[in-house]
Symmetry: C3
Subunit: 345 residues, 3 copies
């Protein structure tokens, strides 16, 4: 891939350029690993000292750091360097990545009444069942399976072997990574009485999954279909890998959740929430907008006030942990003993 | 799909009908979202007040609520409304869902000596290796891979891209959702001494997986093959999505486990147990029948008495949690200080 | 499969044989389930009492147990019986398992400029994109998708439906189980200011994944590509099922991690570390060599000293847990009250 000049980058993405506009840029790199062909960025002022030592051809900085950065060479000044960097990576990827070829791979199996936009790309061994619609510029990766009467919006890209179940819908400009399963059955059973056998009687899941625009879903994540109503993921939601979203969950717009999160059935999560890796949200709870859950925290009741919530056991060297954990099992009685002492004193 | 009458429903599923038997039902819905074309149900007496406000055409209730329900319109009375509702969803799905077509999709790759029942349905791009047997009315979804000398019982349905490894068996009437991997290698290694390199020497996993009848397995769940003996899942077990079942685990009949559970190798779990989402059961433990594990709990020793067991850190606003968590690391010394005070007083 | 004699086993694997070298061995089995056609092993002296009762044809033991074992029949003596057993399983599997057939299945789709070693085996419906290289004796399972410009080393075996992304590399003698996704995008977004909409701006992930030799990766595990640099898994690492490895993580040689572990972005883990099932390691942390993390522990800061670290809430019967957990939320104030008492006394 031939290099680009700083001038080309600023022409495409904006920002104020100081220094040699003809400098050729061959790669993007963090400050501490940049070479003289790299463009780097300084998003966190904590790392400002790296300006003095970086080998980067140029650095993207906020206005406050313009002078410090310009002292060492070319600089792009912008209000939010991290956001600028994000858009730069998008521009870079658009330049360098292979584009999916429009059309249907000859091996794909396309059902009856499927409406494929001619600009969509359907990969090898993809299976698209009857009555489904695939929008303009959508990309369906190899080995993907789109059920019947489903919908994939314009510009949405599926990696390889994605499953989108019957009647499930995803909006425009989404990204769904390999191995994702959207629309498997929610986990619903009615318990038979134990004296009648204690079997679990399946509740067929008659709802679907509806996903808004600009949603990204990480590898091997699962979003179950609803029992009667739909499971709903609103626009702009970003889900990492290996997340479980139970039936009839609703995730509000612009939430972001890290890997290995589990959301049990019918939880309702507000807008602009974040959930750290491995956290669990129990079923039928409600979280209002702007709730932030720390990694590995288990949410056991609704949260009606915005803020940060946590609940993880602090780790320690094993011996210290063992002593404290053992004492934890006597905590309630310690409190009683403390009370008794207080009364005495 | 044309509506059905209440009379047809009661003819198929039983229950005592009060009110207009000719009412047309177009959908099933929860009380609070039902419209006049919907049949709803009241399983939890806590929601009895919704009877007054629901728009449902008719409601399924227990005998104790017959009068309250009949006051507002048609009603189906049955001893266990939730169980009735479950069977109703099954009947409904059987009416409305596309049925898999019997026969082998022309793209499927079928090995030597494979015995396929003529009523079985083998999807596009499925691969079935030598010597395997697929029972009557079984459905193997697209992109599934059944290893050699495996067995799929009558009526068992695999979603798309399910893996069933060599020599693994699943009984009748099972449901296996997309992305499930049954029969990958268990995680077994012998550690080399550190001074010899500290490598992990693979223990080849020579056992298989045996799954009983009426088992449901959620999307992207993994059940490993045994090291020498088999991993065994007994009849009627229900596993949600993204569960890990290690090698040589045994799960007793009619257990149910929610998403993201992990069961380490050689754990032995009794019958009729339930495990909440994200719980972990360590290896080589035994749980007797009727043990119930709360979500996100880590089971570190065997449980020999039926009951509910828990162990999760209560979450709090971040500031409160930080104070308590920090103090937790001094808990053992607090106990010592309390003791000293008690001696003094 | 016809049985082998003890003599053949010792000829292949070493060890000192005492007793009848012509004994036919038809299977490997644990001591307590061995029959007279089985070879068993005693790795843990705790189980030495089983020597008296096992039905095994012969037992593999350490020198210290030679006499006890020989008293009951044939015995193979070796310095490390567990390591011997591991190698025995490998030898056994090599004898008994079907070998992948060299060559490309006619249904596979092979891109331009792909270099396939003639001894490699490419399964049904595999897709290999342009410019990729597959080494000698490598096995690519059915429905696998290897991106462009990727590399699979000699002897590495992929199960069915493995994804290896563009430009990602794995060394020699690896084992990658079904459903694994290597090289999906890392989870990287720049947050827009809330008053500008609070959207998440995607940071395109321009790095790749580099995996060393002798690495095993369990079913449905995900390893994300790096943002700018690569995610790196060093030689000899063993990962169990359903593990999440974030972008730019580095895992040092000969680490082993159990199922359901999550490693957040840019964590750097030393050599010879072990991580128990369900543990979480937060991002940007560093763990030195020989750190051992207990199952379900959450690592929230760097660990600079080798050793065992833990942090899990001890489970209890539900009623006891509830009392202790409730008190836990007052722990900090209990400490204050204790302090007050101490001052008084």
């Amino acid at each position: 891939m031939s290099p680009v000049t700083l001038a080309e980058i600023v022409a495409a993405l904006g920002g104020e350029l100081f220094g040699d506009a003809t400098l050729p840029i061959s790669r993007l790199a963090p400050l501490d690993r940049a070479d003289p062909a790299a463009l780097s960025f300084l998003a966190n002022p904590r790392y400002a000292a790296q300006l003095a030592t970086t080998q980067a051809a140029a650095v993207i900085v906020a206005p406050a750091l313009r002078e410090a950065a310009a002292a060492r060479g070319a600089v792009i000044v912008t209000a939010d360097p991290y956001l600028y960097f994000a858009r730069l990576t998008q521009w870079w990827a658009a330049r360098t990545r292979r584009r999916a070829v429009a059309g249907v791979h000859p091996s794909a199996v396309i059902g009856a009444g499927v409406r494929l936009h001619p600009s969509a790309s359907i990969g090898a061994f993809a299976v698209i069942d009857d009555g489904t619609e695939i929008g303009a510029d959508a990309v369906i990766g190899p080995h993907s399976h789109i059920g019947a009467d489903a919908f994939v919006g314009a510009g949405t890209r599926f990696g390889g072997r994605v499953t989108l179940g019957d009647a499930c819908r995803i909006g425009a400009r989404g990204i769904v990574h390999a191995g994702v399963v959207i629309g498997a059955d929610g986990f619903g059973f009615a318990p038979q009485a134990l004296d009648a056998g204690g079997r679990w009687e399946k509740i067929e899941q008659l709802g679907a999954v509806r996903i808004g625009d600009d949603v990204e879903i990480g590898a091997n994540t699962c979003i179950d279909r609803g029992a009667l109503d739909d499971t709903v993921i609103d626009e702009g939601v970003k889900l990492d890998n290996l997340i479980q979203v139970g039936h009839n969950v609703r995730i509000g717009a612009h939430c972001a959740m890290a890997g290995c999160v589990g959301i049990a059935g019918s939880a309702k999560i507000g807008r602009h929430c974040t959930v750290g890796g491995g956290a669990i949200i129990l079923g039928h709870l409600e979280l209002v907008d702007h709730v932030h859950i720390t990694a590995a925290t288990v949410i056991t009741r609704s949260i009606l006030k915005a803020g940060q919530y946590s609940g993880l056991f602090p780790f320690d060297d094993n011996a210290s942990w063992e002593k404290n954990a053992a004492t934890l099992r006597q905590l309630h009685s310690l409190r009683e003993r403390l009370r008794a002492l207080e009364k005495k004193s």
